[in-house]
């Protein structure tokens, strides 16, 4: 069971590495890759990451990446993977804002700022679980169905003990998702400020 979990984690990490590289390649060109090209790229790169290549390395490439960054949360993984399907469907800013707010409260407390440890809630707090469900329901009511699916899959993965962690937080949030959300929020605020400044210049009286 443990070896199956380890193999699946390496498969997941290989696909994630392939997705990141594909997205970076996509950024180099203004023309969107056709779906078939993306699928072929993912297949090729993920195989490179999954199988041991030798060349003096004791492990496959994905195991080195996993050693450094650990297992990504299901939410991050699915957001990354699905972003390959369509680059035009953006994640709502309000979701990123919520993630950023949660992260800047959660990490300092979990890392020893006080005796309250919100990370401990993830092991089985009913109230925390209800809060996660409400968050997902709000995503649905705000018409972001992808968010509902992703959070529901993360909950199922936690209940099935898909990763090594028994903590729901590890399926929902990780530092990379937090950093992505923070950059997006600050980027949006900066963009808004710039826009206001420009409109202020254009419409400044007399």
């Amino acid at each position: 069971m443990n070896s199956l979990m380890q193999t699946l984690a390496l498969v997941e990490m290989s696909i994630t590495c392939a997705a990141v590289i594909t997205l970076l390649l996509q950024k180099t060109t203004s023309q969107e890759f056709p779906l078939i090209s993306k699928v072929l790229l993912i297949l090729l790169i993920s195989n490179l990451f999954f199988w041991p290549l030798g060349l003096g390395m004791e492990l496959p490439l994905s195991a080195y990446v996993r050693g450094v960054i650990g297992d990504l949360s299901i939410v991050t993984t699915l957001l990354l993977w699905t972003s390959l399907l369509s680059v035009k469907k953006f994640t709502p800013l309000v979701f990123k804002f919520a993630i950023a707010c949660i992260a800047i409260t959660f990490y300092p407390l979990a890392l020893g700022l006080g005796m309250i440890d919100p990370y401990a809630w993830g092991y089985g707090s009913t109230l925390f679980f209800i809060a996660v469900l409400l968050f997902a329901a709000v995503c649905g009511l705000a018409n972001w169905n992808k968010g509902v699916w992703i959070i529901a899959i993360a909950i199922l993965a936690w209940a099935a003990h898909w990763h090594e962690s028994a903590n729901l937080w590890d399926y929902l949030l990780d530092p990379f998702l937090a950093v992505w959300a923070l950059i997006a929020v600050f980027g949006a605020l900066y963009g808004k400020r710039k826009e206001n400044a420009r409109s202020g210049y254009l419409f400044r009286p007399g």
Partner: protein, 414 residues
């Protein structure tokens, strides 16, 4: 329509999630060992020593001293012990060209109390085995801490690092069905939300009444604080902060009763703050901890070990200094008074010039029959020293506690 589908799927996940929460074991009280009165304690037979320097006073043998087997490694550290079912003691420690080197392995050897001999050392875990078993890159290995599971198997927790120094540590564990001769594949314990970075172990685990283990651990990257992990086989099923901020690591837990426990820490405070042993207390079997007043024993940012004997007395081994690790002492507190007194100076290089003083650190204590004590500690990073204190010797030391103390804790902390 797609929204309805998504919400229905969420409902399904919610039901499964609630069932999962419902299936989790409730938090259990601590398992407690019965405490017998001093008069009822039998004097056990002490093991024969090869290098005994026994005083002829009474018939109580002096503590014996041995060395853990030399593996040829230049640097050794972080020894720990566990009692085996046949009465022997198994030790674990890490050894390599230097602390944190890629060639560091976790060694083990068995002490036979009858012959007072250590077996040949064996390698329990090396870096490559760890990374293959854990399916991830491992740069180095660290502290090993053994525990006895409720079903009788041995579990060895050990620290691994993939990037950076010890602050980048995580805990993994292996399990043995044959008292440590062979071990399972390692399993990773997930205990931190920040890429699972920076959780380490040093002190012995304690048992809950439901058979699960409570593992005192600590975080030492952004914060430096104690954490109490509730372990079910190879996974963390709950955890709690034992302290906060950047001032206390390596908790050592004394269980007072089924709900009450006290933790003593290694202090990591900044300059200008008290260099004493920080204390936390729980009154609900570890579900929440509160910081208490320091134990007024000097601590130079070095590990503390201890155990409770079956007559209620407690012993501690530590460096009772504010700076340096050149002195190590054995202290005892009677169950009634709770007053800590030094009963034996184990090592002391105070008379030597500063640059010639050796480091005595990372003590680890266990008892085989709840009345005696086996101690191991790092001796100048080159060797691991083992000391054995018989039940009779400790009982005599306890009986002498009532005489006017020569070296009480208030003096230690000066």
């Amino acid at each position: 329509m797609s929204r309805v589908l998504a919400l229905c799927f969420l409902l399904l996940a919610a039901v499964i999630g609630f069932l999962h929460i419902d299936s989790r074991p409730p938090w259990a009280p601590f398992a407690i060992n019965a405490v017998t009165s001093v008069e009822e304690v039998d004097v056990p037979v002490s093991p024969k020593s090869k290098n005994q320097s026994i005083s002829s006073k009474a018939s109580i043998p002096s503590p014996i001293s041995t060395w853990l087997p030399d593996t040829g490694a230049a640097s050794v550290h972080a020894a720990s012990l566990i009692a085996l079912k046949d009465g022997a003691i198994r030790a674990f420690w890490f050894a390599g060209s230097r602390e944190g080197a890629a060639d560091v392995v976790i060694n083990s050897a068995v002490f036979d109390p009858k012959s007072s001999d250590w077996s040949a050392p064996m390698v329990v875990m090396d870096r490559v085995s760890a990374e293959k078993g854990l399916s991830r890159y491992i740069a180095k290995l660290g502290n090993p801490v053994p525990a006895r599971m409720a079903d009788g198997r041995l579990q060895l927790f050990f620290v691994t690092v993939s990037i950076g120094g010890w602050a980048g540590s995580s805990i993994s564990s292996v399990i043995s069905d044959d008292e440590g001769l062979t071990w399972s594949n390692p399993q990773r314990l997930i205990s931190s939300p920040l890429i699972n970075l920076s959780t380490l172990v040093k002190s012995p685990a304690i048992s809950f009444a439901d058979g699960r283990l409570g593992l005192p651990a600590y975080h030492e990257w952004i914060g430096r604080f104690g954490e109490f992990l509730r372990i079910d086989a190879g996974q963390v099923i709950d955890k709690r902060h034992m302290s906060s901020g950047r001032s206390a690591i390596q908790p050592l837990v004394f269980v007072n009763n089924a709900q009450d426990a006290t933790a003593y820490f290694r202090q990591t405070r900044s300059a200008g703050q008290a260099k004493q042993v920080p204390v936390s207390q729980t009154q609900n079997a570890g579900q929440s901890w509160q910081s208490e007043a320091d134990l007024p024993i000097a601590n130079p940012n070095s590990a503390v070990t201890g155990l409770q004997l079956n007559n209620g007395a407690r012993i501690l081994v530590l460096n009772n200094l504010e700076t340096g690790r050149y002195r190590m002492v054995l202290m005892m507190a009677d169950a009634k008074s709770g007053q800590w007194q030094t009963i034996e100076v184990l090592e002391d290089d105070e008379a030597l010039p500063e640059d010639q003083r050796k480091e005595f650190s990372y003590p680890y204590l266990i008892s085989h029959d709840s009345s005696d004590a086996h101690l191991v500690y790092t001796w100048d990073r080159k060797k691991i020293r083992h000391r054995y204190f018989s039940g009779a010797w400790l009982k005599r030391a306890q009986s002498q506690l009532d005489t006017p103390p020569v070296d009480v804790i208030s003096q230690e902390a000066k």
